[in-house]
Chain length 309, copies 2
């Protein structure tokens, strides 16, 4: 098939698509599909010859907000493509918080040992990890948690059991059941939810208060799914044991924000997945979707436009 | 058996030993063995009724330096008891360096993304991890590296194959072979060596120069096995990609030391294993050694006094 790659051409992905028999063209009017590698402010008008749009990003929230999720075209996103990178980054943030890295760096002194001898936590010490929004990334994370013998409770929309999880609970289920079976069990809460109308601010003061004391929150989903003020309150009161945040609300997180300073909060600037990693896999996965499209099938990461993900 | 626990009594360990039928006494002259929980400056004179000494630490370097490793008594150390904690801490340091946590924290600004989009490395990207001093901790680390599909090259004294390693090489082997089969392959060098006369300063300028460019060094063994000045030089020249250090030489690392400041060096204050974790397992493992001793067998962690470990 013929495709346009906009707004940035990733040579590594062009080569992978060429190896699969796809030709890159410059004019959107000559193309069968659009591979979109940018942010949404640069999204083009789609001519009628474009049969589907493939985005190199998993989150479509900005596209929805911009009214660009045209239902007359088929869409595929990058859901699951970055499971490896985001799962690895999630574990990295979790371990950094557990092991007091930021506190040690801020003290810049061996005297940090006085606190860290007692404050260091170990993931292998019979911990329960709740994964909120457990899909492809969550499954990859479960594999990475396995050597630590962590007990995983998965929470997803359907309640359909997630491989490797000790328990799976539906997000929309009974509040009392969620409280006892999920939130009160959490030594760690990993949030991987996409940002939709249904998930905005879902981790707010009420949910945070139900988490086990000392719980560590890791957010590698979308910043807007957590109420930042409520999170800061729960950290400063000592109810939470720490946080690892790759995404925040607002984002970019302003200089001088409390989250940059707190010794038990590790922040990365939305680099749980990176552009070099996207270039590494986008061509391969796009070729797979193009093949399915050409065969008249549903694409592997085809978007449910109504559900926004 | 009857034992004395010195200099600090760990109630959690007393309970575990009591459950195994061992009685704690106060006077060293009434005891069959000594369970030693402290640093070496408080080590007591041993009366002849003491049949063996169990240390709660793995490294015996300070004991050797103090001339206290009395060869007329049998000794057991804590080798392997802290495999879980040290392996977890090793992975935590490695991932923190790979993911640029310290740089992000120092910048305390979303603008850190400009650098970290490119500088973030991923362990799952076909990395080779060299484990120097691969014993019990190394084997546990190999399990934790497995979900990342990292290729592991083990280096130990015997060259005896380590489970899960793609290759095992003897530390005392041919220098040219070590250069090509080991050092030049290393995306990550994990040092787990104990400090002995044979290992002091073994990771010096010569070895560091042979490491693959961009290699990340993680030290959770003993500080004195790495030449600190050579390490700082290799970091500042850009030859190394970063370091994660739980142990240093000197230790404590002085305030204001360059290693505290470098943005790609994560330092923890010798907390890869912690006293609470030692309390958690010492009673159980000591009881196992006492059982073996009573049966006239070699203890599970019996020390080879001549080899110093």
């Amino acid at each position: 098939m013929r495709y346009v790659m906009l707004p940035t051409v990733w040579e590594e992905s062009v080569c992978d698509l060429q190896a699969a028999g796809h030709e890159r063209v410059d004019d959107l009017h000559d193309a069968d599909f659009l591979l979109y590698t940018g942010y949404w402010d640069e999204f083009p008008e789609l001519p009628p010859n474009i049969k589907f749009v493939q985005t190199a990003f998993a989150g479509l929230d900005a596209l929805v907000a911009g009214g660009q999720l045209d239902p007359s075209v088929r869409w595929a996103n990058a859901a699951g493509w970055y499971a490896d990178s985001v799962a690895e980054s999630t574990l990295a943030l979790l371990l950094a918080v557990y092991h007091g890295h930021k506190y040690a760096g801020q003290q810049a002194s061996f005297s940090a040992a006085e606190k860290l001898q007692d404050a260091t936590r170990f993931l292998f010490h019979d911990k329960t990890v709740v994964i909120l929004g457990a899909g492809g990334i969550g499954e990859r994370l479960i594999e990475m948690l396995a050597p630590f013998n962590a007990r995983v409770i998965a929470v997803n929309h359907s309640g359909r059991p997630v491989a490797g999880a000790a328990d799976t609970v539906a997000l929309g289920g009974d509040a009392g059941e969620l409280r006892t079976r999920v939130w009160a069990q959490a030594d760690v809460l990993v949030n991987l939810l996409p940002l939709t109308d249904a998930t905005r601010g879902i981790v707010g003061a009420e949910l945070l208060a139900q988490l086990k004391g000392g719980c560590v929150v890791v957010n590698t989903g979308r910043g807007g799914t957590i109420d930042t003020d409520a999170l800061v309150d729960a950290l400063e009161s000592g109810h939470l044991g720490g946080a690892g945040l790759d995404v925040t609300d607002p984002e970019p997180l302003p200089d001088g924000h409390r989250l940059w300073e707190l010794p038990n909060v590790v922040v990365t600037p939305h680099t749980a997945n990176t552009v070099p990693n996207m270039k590494r896999v986008t061509g391969k996965f796009t070729a797979e979707n193009a093949r399915l499209f050409a065969e008249g099938k549903k694409m592997a990461t085809e978007v449910d436009v109504a559900a926004q993900y």
